[in-house]
Symmetry: C2
Subunit: 278 residues, 2 copies
């Protein structure tokens, strides 16, 4: 394992520190990607890069050189497993919201430990109180304005609660603080649309390709009365939900078998999620 855990670039050149006038710090004016690394490689790199490019286009942020990012990832990961994070901001700017022209973006690459294994037989989740606001211009993006998620995650400290589910200000289920949400109802998988809030997760994208999924609106009852529920993200993969408040999902149902089948397909598609690596 390499000793260094983060490197910083401005305009493609290594620098020793982030400028205190960075607009990432001032305004959350940036994007990030969090990737599962396997033996020093990033199996879902293409999907992460595509989402970053979409966000950069919407925020009018210049993209870094992908080869530089991949070189940085190889250096930080040094052949190991772990989590690789990319943070791209608009760089230093004057006081005030007007974006500097041209922007000289800041890129921070960092390596982090793997999360602990998913609890058996599944996650214990809760509803969060805070509601997510609706902003179509930012919906779907992995941008750095995350105070809603910070406040949501701060609602509980019980380590026996593994994730919090979020509703929008209109009451629709959106996802979890750091994962997307899928529910099985009437024989079909469903997931909230992410065109007004929420994040278009990379693992969510893989599931949409792998299953016949309806992107739709779901309310609290739709989730609580589902036949099976799972969360997913690009770091932890497919996470069956075992409990939500008073609702328990047994692990010997046809719905649960669909989830374990999906986990097996993911293990075949992305080596980090092979069962022996979880």
């Amino acid at each position: 394992m390499s000793g260094r855990t983060a490197v910083i670039y401005q305009a493609g050149e290594r620098v020793v520190a982030v400028d205190p006038a960075d607009r990432g710090l001032a305004y959350g004016d940036g994007l990030f990607e969090t990737m599962r690394a396997h033996r020093g490689e990033l199996p879902w790199w293409d999907a992460h890069w595509a989402r970053l490019a979409l966000g950069a286009a919407r925020l009018n942020l210049p993209l870094p050189d992908p080869e530089q990012v991949l070189d940085g990832a190889r250096m930080l990961l040094d052949g190991d497993d772990g989590v690789f994070k990319l943070l791209l901001t608009r760089g230093a700017g004057g006081r005030g919201y007007a974006p500097p022209t041209p922007a000289v973006p800041t890129l921070v690459l960092s390596r982090h430990p793997l999360p602990p294994p998913a609890p058996e037989p599944g996650l214990n989740v809760r509803w969060c109180e805070i509601r997510l606001s609706l902003q179509p211009r930012l919906a779907g993006l992995k941008h750095c304005n995350r105070l809603e998620q910070v406040l949501a995650r701060a609602e509980w400290s019980d380590p026996g609660v593994h994730e919090g589910l979020l509703r929008s200000v209109e009451g629709d289920a959106v996802g979890a603080t750091a994962a997307n949400l899928f529910v099985l109802r009437e024989g079909r998988w469903r997931t909230p649309a992410v065109d007004r809030c929420g994040v278009a997760g990379v693992c969510r994208g893989w599931v949409l390709d792998a299953l016949d999924v309806l992107e739709t609106r779901l309310d609290v009852t739709d989730v609580e009365t589902a036949d099976a529920v799972f969360l997913c993200n690009a770091v932890r993969g497919i996470l069956p939900v075992a409990r939500l408040g008073t609702r328990h999902w047994a692990d010997a149902t046809p719905g649960h078998r669909q989830v374990t089948d999906l986990q097996a397909r993911l293990a075949a598609a992305h080596p980090a999620f092979a069962m022996e690596n979880l």
Copy 2:
């Protein structure tokens, strides 16, 4: 003028750089205050500190030592006029939204030049396309999740347009990208409430004390057909609006005289806004 323009503290100790794992950078997990300095002093310090304290309570962020902030301000300002900015973040954290406990906040103090004088006879403003989302848990605060304002300010580059007015997702007028909005209708001043979105500006607070103002909902027509309109913020004071699209406000009306009267009262209350200093 002191040579240094920014100083950084962690847990009250001076440090040379912001940690690249700072949650301000990762999530916009912080607050800021932008203050008009006059001869090295901060005349509205109490109001800025009160808003910071309110925001820190809502985000569960520890406040810095106010004496340390004031010492830093005196050092940076060195007796001069200018703009003093305070940025408070939750400090470095691991990957993930869960706030570190206890948080070791980062404090960045910086000095900036005064903005150019307000244009005569008043501002030329436009409506922005992006709508502000509704989030009562963050409304009113000067928090660091400002991508909506960044996108709004990026909508125009014409230097002849001085500010952009923002509507909420429901269509209500909220304010400008970096100022609060007041309109005179039926003999009474009105300003949008800031309980669902918008910022509770420090100069706005002074105006609420100085005038008989109704905090209410305003739509686009309410603004465009007003008898007088001004914007205000703590750095630029009271800014009469002369033009909004095809609507012009003449500067010899009773409404305009109310604005100039208010400017005179502000000049008496806050020395930086005395006419000879603008």
